[in-house]
Subunit: 279 residues, 2 copies
């Protein structure tokens, strides 16, 4: 592999040397630390290499080359890459390649009481609205006497041109009785109408939960990911005088998002350094 290395000598040699270091580290340390899975060891070595030798946005060699370099099967190499992608260190796109991902963005979730009509700039943008029954899991979060028909408002959260989250906001028809039946029965205009009514209600509290999920096909499309991609599912229950006025199920891209809750300190956690937690 040292023979045909004469075109673009400088750049190629720099790249070569960085990978050579990593290769060595895999070869040598694997012998001593027995009984550690190859993919895990590989992931650790790659992670450290990314920390010290690579810049955000840099393109990695393709999977077949990398696997050959480290002397493992492509499937094993992929296991390591998948871990790193899960941790937000890498970004992989079919047909394109693998690049070093930027640090996760901190996304404020709690921000006290929000303005439904979207006066706060670049937060949520309403995309659509339909009317019908809510899924059983959501229905269970409403009060027993709430009717079956709800408005389903679709909203997308974008930052710096990248989609961060896709939300489905369920508003029981009984929560917004004043909603005019005259304007558009669906679509973005309808969505804004529902939000305006919700804003008029004046909510007095909320209840939130976060769990890991995998993106459904529709969410994945909005998030520019493949179905099954890991997401953080944020379920929020909004309370008004009468009880639960709305339920929001928001799915955030787990690879790119770090959810922040400013409970009282009101400070933003900064994370712009490249360093990572030591093992």
């Amino acid at each position: 592999m040292v023979t045909t290395l004469r075109q673009e000598p400088l750049i190629n040699n720099v790249a070569e040397s960085r990978w050579a270091i990593a290769e060595d580290r895999v070869g040598t340390t694997q012998l001593e630390s027995v009984q550690e899975p190859k993919y895990w060891h590989l992931k650790t070595v790659l992670s450290e290499a990314l920390d010290s030798d690579f810049a955000v946005g840099e393109i990695l060699p393709n999977e077949r080359d990398l696997a050959a370099r480290f002397g493992v099967a492509r499937a094993t190499l992929r296991q390591a890459l998948e871990q790193l992608e899960l941790e937000g260190r890498l970004q992989r796109r079919r047909g394109v390649g693998t690049t070093v991902a930027p640090p996760r963005v901190g996304v404020a979730v709690s921000t006290a009481q929000q303005d439904w009509t979207g006066g706060t700039g670049e937060a949520w943008q309403p995309a659509d609205c339909t009317t019908g029954p809510a899924p059983a899991v959501v229905q269970a979060l409403f009060d027993a006497d709430t009717g079956d028909t709800v408005h389903r408002v679709r909203r997308i959260r974008v930052s710096h041109g990248q989609p961060l989250a896709a939300e489905l906001l369920y508003v029981p028809a009984s929560s917004v009785p004043a909603l005019s039946a005259i304007d558009a029965p669906s679509g973005p205009a309808r969505a804004r109408s529902v939000l305006r009514e919700l804003d008029r209600l004046g909510l007095n509290g909320q209840d939130r939960s976060v769990e890991l999920g995998s993106a459904r096909a529709d969410d994945a499309k909005e998030l520019d990911r493949l179905p099954g991609a890991p997401v953080l599912v944020v379920t929020t229950r909004y309370f008004a005088a009468g009880g639960t006025a709305a339920v929001s199920v928001a799915t955030y891209r787990a690879d790119t998002c770090r959810l922040t809750f400013g409970d009282s300190g009101a400070l933003e956690i900064r994370h712009d350094d490249q360093e990572r937690q030591a093992s």
Copy 2:
């Protein structure tokens, strides 16, 4: 495969029929809905089967049998099972088997101001304490003038005998100057001493973020999972008069935990039904 089916006739036949339904569903629906990955389709079918036909704790056939039943390679079947485990639907244990998982437990995270000394019963239990430098990522969350040496308090959160989370609490030595240098320099006793001092400080705010991570070896051991298992990493910064008094990095099992934040509604989200969100 219909021949030797005579021992435990009733139970086996019931089990057989349930799987036969799922098999059919895979075979038939795959033809129409083209261009959907097999593992994804398989996951959907299995998920619906779990919803309708299986009880919590039930044991599934082993992976080789299941793969044969559905006519796919074991690796493909495993991709589907991994997804379901990620979603908290299944529990797999090496050497034992695969079982239907109970619904995720709601774990309160915010609970206003806590009592460090652990008077609240079954929450965190201190396990150990060491002293030394903090990892760079954590150090970055402290104020610039904070010294290098911190107390690292290890705590475990358990519920119903199951480990939910493992925490590393970083307390700068400068935050707890009154800490007696006389009692045990490390171990659980030392941990309690540090927490007692922290309690005495009187914190006036906190700052929290949640992101997806994978369990490091030490955390994995505490959580009774394999290294690399998906976890929800909750990073909390505690403020006192002087600034950041402590930083906590808690890793929750993503498969079994749903983090709840009682921001103001103070209600617990109930989730004891078996139903799941429709696709």
